[in-house]
């Protein structure tokens, strides 16, 4: 199998599965219980927490959640902000930020979306224009999930804080962590969301980083776990596996990045043809490669590659069941291309030979299918 949809999810590492088994069976204890084995589990949990914080180079609290989506929701709904204040997101945010922002708009907040370029990157001058005295929260993703466009969150955050240091800055880092440099202290962000299953941790574990001195109101109330910010009995097995996968990803990040860059260059060569628009430019994360095909629907080529045991994505899997009418102006495509979006996303395990096999199979199928399409 050649799996090229790693931006949607990645296979869990066997080591993670082993760790999880241990913490689901032998060390199943509830970390909040007072007896010895529980205390041990609680200690492990704390160790994970501080190591994750170190790995993200942050100075603050780590809240374990169920997902990147939950982390995003927690920031948007739980951050302190006056009624009817302005909230700025980018036009190309993942639905896990966009939908909560829509909901806040319904509740009377002044939610505005900052224009982005063709790769979904925020245009800094546009962000500057949107900042006003009522702005309380800015949420801009680190790496765009569709194209891999990277926002310079450090300079965007600086711009926001220079305007008004009290504006809170959140970034959804789901596609960034483990792939590109993430240094939370240096970037100055207040909140940062992470999802484990994008770097071989199990699905069902996310993290929210909260900078020192800040707090959030819970959206899940209960037993007071996670500093009273996110109640629920901790998913210890998932958390320990998350920490393992994160450490591994960050330790080999440089080497993996070089490999992904080589694979990406090969993809660029392979798709250098006149009936294809390459949507991810050279400044994008090498892990995500997005192209639009003329005439052929992305879904059709996706299905026809299944028989070679090759799996790619179309757009973003989170929204593949809906047709998206909210495409940002600068990301719009000529009509004959707009249904033909495919997303090839890599992991540290992707090889040049995988990419070549994919390109060959793609060409074979594309050339057959295109004959039957309207043209």
């Amino acid at each position: 199998m050649i799996f090229l949809d790693n931006a949607s999810t990645t296979p869990t590492l066997p080591e993670c599965a082993d760790i999880m088994k241990e913490y689901m069976t032998d060390k199943f204890f509830n970390p909040s219980a007072p007896y010895g084995p529980s205390v041990d589990v609680a200690k492990t949990l704390d160790k994970c927490r501080s190591n994750v914080c170190k790995l993200l180079k942050g100075d603050g609290k780590i809240i374990f959640t169920s997902s990147g989506s939950e982390s995003n929701n927690l920031v948007l709904f739980g951050s302190k902000k006056p009624n009817k204040c302005r909230i700025i997101i980018s036009e190309s945010e993942h639905p896990a930020v966009k939908r909560p922002a829509d909901e806040l708009k319904q509740r009377g907040y002044d939610v505005v979306a900052c224009p982005v370029d063709s790769c979904g990157r925020v245009i800094p001058e546009e962000l500057q224009k949107l900042l006003d005295e009522n702005t309380a929260l800015v949420s801009i993703m680190h790496v765009n999930n569709e194209t891999g466009g990277i926002n310079d969150i450090k300079s965007l955050c600086k711009m926001v804080k220079t305007y008004n240091k009290n504006i809170l800055f959140h970034s959804d880092g789901v596609q960034a962590v483990g792939k590109i440099d993430v240094s939370l202290n240096d970037s100055g962000v207040d909140f940062y969301s992470v999802s484990g299953h994008k770097f071989h941790a199990p699905r069902g574990v996310g993290v929210l980083f909260i900078k020192s001195g800040l707090n959030l109101k819970p959206i899940i109330f209960g037993g007071g776990q996670e500093f009273n910010i996110r109640s629920s009995t901790e998913n210890v097995a998932g958390i320990v596996a998350f920490e393992y996968a994160l450490e591994r990803a960050i330790k080999s990040q440089k080497e993996n990045y070089d490999n992904a860059s080589k694979c990406n260059a090969e993809l660029r060569k392979g798709f250098d043809r006149e009936d294809v628009i390459i949507r991810s430019d050279e400044r994008c994360s090498p892990y995500i490669f997005n192209v639009a095909l003329k005439y052929l629907r992305g879904e059709v080529i996706l299905h026809s590659l299944e028989k070679y045991d090759i799996f790619i994505g179309t757009g973003s899997a989170c929204s593949s069941k809906k047709t998206d009418k909210n495409t940002p102006e600068n990301m719009k495509l000529p009509q004959e291309y707009e249904k033909g979006i495919i997303r090839v996303s890599l992991s540290d395990k992707t090889t040049i030979s995988d990419i070549n096999t994919f390109i060959n199979s793609f060409n074979l199928e594309y050339n057959t299918l295109i004959k039957y399409m309207r043209g």
């Binding site: 629907r297 879904e299 059709v300 299905h303 809906k322 039957y372």
Partner: protein, 389 residues
């Protein structure tokens, strides 16, 4: 005292000498629909009852019975020995204690000296007294009607709810039908309506992988499962259609694409129908809804088969069809946005008034017999049962 559910059968009463056949089919369908629930179906004196179930299952049993065609209505009832005092007492205990009501007695047991009206009056009096002013009698504008059915075997049934069911005829006694199931809104509704007239449903779906996805196929299976709550398990034939579409696209004029596709679909459906001993083909066509459903188009697609084609929606508006789809719970699934095989190669300007002669001429460019046989040979058969939902 024993809980029981009284089943009233509908139109079957009209069936003279065939009555036994209809009733035994109905009994079989009832038993099948109640599989997995601890209970028994019994019949006595031309009536059907469900007995031997626990109180917590009563709602589930009733909800399943409302979907069995051939049942007019059901009533959860209490069966007790015919002792008029005790009956009156029970009525006052288990039935509502507020509102307007009437009592209706049906006295089959003529050994009881009192007349129906008198018994009703006595029971009503006890209920009024026990309700302490909460109840009033109103023979015409009543909120609920207490029924007391005094049978000849020494037992009586008391009940006050009559739950309307699906009506129709028991599935199976109207023969078999082969449904063209697309995944849209109309065809599941067509299946429902024909099943309501007693037709056992077989289905065929045309699958154009990779142009239509595995999800589109799963959607069709799900629709068949939902409909099977009414018509029993459906045997679904999934026929690979891509090669046929390629052949048409390569050899025939694009504006006849859909017409010729549908003619081949009808041919395949008829072959499968004959295999499954179906006496008719069923489609969800509604006159004029799309280019392929004009009178001329229907004539051209109809002309390749000799079995009758039932189109129960032919005179229905889309809104009427949607209303039924919502009622039978297929609507939400039908509107999931997966392409079906007809939209994949949809020409910009499909022919609205095709002719049989033109279609026949164009088809000479195709080896229809081979295309049809190959498709049928590669058919996948899936039994769709609501229990797998």
């Amino acid at each position: 005292m024993e809980r029981t559910i009284l089943i009233r059968i509908g139109e079957i009463f009209l069936k003279g000498n065939n009555r036994n056949y209809f009733v035994s089919t109905l009994k079989h369908n009832i038993v099948e629909s109640l599989e997995g629930v601890q209970c028994r179906l019994v019949s006595s004196n031309n009536r059907l009852f469900i007995i031997g179930y626990s109180e917590s299952d009563e709602q589930e049993i009733i909800s399943r019975l409302t979907r069995v065609f051939g049942i007019y209505s059901v009533s959860p009832a209490i069966k007790m020995p015919t002792d008029l005092e005790k009956i009156a007492e029970t009525c006052s205990e288990v039935f509502p204690r507020t509102g307007k009501f009437r009592v209706t007695v049906n006295r089959a047991d003529k050994k009881i000296p009192l007349k129906s009206m008198d018994i009703a009056r006595d029971i009503g009096a006890v209920m009024l007294r026990k309700a302490k002013g909460g109840l009033t009698v109103d023979l015409f504008n009543f909120g609920f009607e207490v029924n007391v059915d005094i049978r000849e075997n020494g037992y009586s049934y008391i009940f006050y709810k009559k739950i309307l069911c699906s009506g129709g005829l028991p599935v199976g006694c109207g023969g078999n039908g082969m449904l063209l199931l697309s995944g849209g809104i109309d065809s599941p509704v067509a299946a429902y309506l024909m099943a309501k007239r007693g037709v056992k449903i077989y289905a065929v779906h045309y699958h154009s992988f990779p142009f239509t996805s595995e999800m589109a196929k799963e959607k069709v299976i799900k629709l068949a499962r939902i409909v099977s709550r009414y018509c029993g398990p459906i045997e679904l034939a999934v026929v690979p259609f891509t090669e046929i579409q390629y052949a048409i696209k390569e050899n025939c004029p694009i504006e006849y694409m859909i017409t010729i596709m549908r003619r081949i679909m009808m041919r395949i459906a008829e072959r499968l129908a004959i295999e499954k001993k179906c006496g008719a083909i069923i489609t969800g066509e509604s006159l004029g809804q799309v280019a392929s459903q004009t009178m001329e188009s229907i004539n051209v697609t109809n002309s390749v088969v000799s079995l009758p084609v039932f189109r129960p929606l032919i005179g229905s508006d889309k809104t009427e069809i949607i209303d039924i789809a919502k009622k039978i719970d297929t609507f939400e699934t039908s509107i999931l946005p997966y392409e079906d095989c007809c939209t994949v190669f949809l020409p910009k300007n499909p022919v609205i008034k095709p002719s049989i002669k033109a279609a026949e001429e164009m088809e000479t460019a195709l080896d229809i017999e081979k295309l049809v046989t190959d498709a049928i040979n590669n058919t996948e058969t899936i039994v769709c049962d609501f229990k797998d939902l």
